[in-house]
Symmetry: C2
């Protein structure tokens, strides 16, 4: 079991995770989103696909017992445990343009997109390679007419999602930088890497 690692508010991290290892993503204060992207360590052209995940899992809402799938139709991670239960896989990571276009914000604004591609650069991943993420704790509501709205997360302090790697992975993760996604305040995200021996029984 690794140390508990903290991703400071409005920043990101990138690291390797081996097949069978577990990633525990923790919301230490509550109400904070973490964008998660996945790449096959052996060939980063294989990566998480929101469209394939929703297709194979036959659901918009992805939680405990669902898999995250790649653009090559292979399982990348399994969600072993999800204490909160609300995540999003519809919306792309917030980017500089998100704040220009949707928030009418002028000037620099931190974003998940920047925090993903700058941290993943060392692994040969470019900005254009950043896919739609699995947005842990993100609370996107949808109406029968398709209308989407982003509400504050329902997660409270200590909520976590535990995921098991199905292949050797390169992972990018953030503490999300978008006001609306995080109830208007920015908090850190924590994570821990666990061995297969730490996998919960049953």
């Amino acid at each position: 079991m690794s140390d508990l690692i903290t991703i400071a508010k409005q920043t990101g991290s990138a690291f390797r995770l081996k097949k069978g290892q577990l990633l525990k993503v923790i919301d230490p204060q509550g109400g904070q989103v973490s964008d998660l992207v996945l790449f096959n360590e052996a060939d980063v052209r294989e990566k998480i696909s929101a469209g394939k995940t929703m297709d194979f899992e036959e659901s918009i809402l992805i939680s405990e017992n669902n898999f995250l799938w790649s653009n090559r139709s292979r399982k990348m991670m399994k969600i072993i445990k999800d204490t909160n239960g609300r995540n999003d896989i519809l919306l792309a990571p917030c980017s500089p343009e998100t704040f220009e276009i949707m928030y009418d914000h002028k000037g620099y604004h931190p974003s998940c997109f920047e925090n993903l591609h700058t941290n993943l650069e060392n692994f040969g991943i470019t900005p254009d390679d950043i896919p739609t993420a699995f947005n842990i704790f993100m609370n996107v509501q949808f109406e029968p007419d398709g209308k989407l709205s982003v509400l504050p997360p329902t997660s409270t302090a200590g909520d976590y999602v535990l995921l098991e790697a199905q292949m050797d992975l390169i992972i990018g993760m953030t503490a999300c930088s978008a006001e609306d996604s995080n109830g208007g305040t920015f908090k850190p995200i924590q994570y821990q890497i666990l061995g297969s021996e730490d996998k919960p029984k049953n």
Copy 2:
């Protein structure tokens, strides 16, 4: 105005469309889906993003007056007219694995994924570059609990979607090959390229 071009059942096509030109996608018999993918002609690393489209349009359902957005947060096409009104942008193009995993099909099966990447190969686009498509006439229903189901299209003979290019594009299009998406029968799709002078008034 170009000739009316027919995409035979379970096949695909790829072509250029200049900024300001219109693409009319027609369901000549009714009940047939067409997967549409878009690339920036000047740099094919810029392409349609389902996650950015749902984010900026704030909707799962994309129809008349919505834009299709790229991974670089730019408008690629505008939907000028949609006579049927039901399309999908959630699910990835059907691929060989779709039929293996979801249909339990053994052996070869035509797929949108194959029909997109083989037709787009001449433009330097590889299988790994194929994004989640805009699935014209595809009728994906979603429940409040997120559960997805694929129903037969509601389109009838002659229904069409008219889209205006917002930049110079390379386009991939199919007549979809998945049984469930097309009510169990495979039909052709037709398209026509129109000049800006053919754009409907008002």
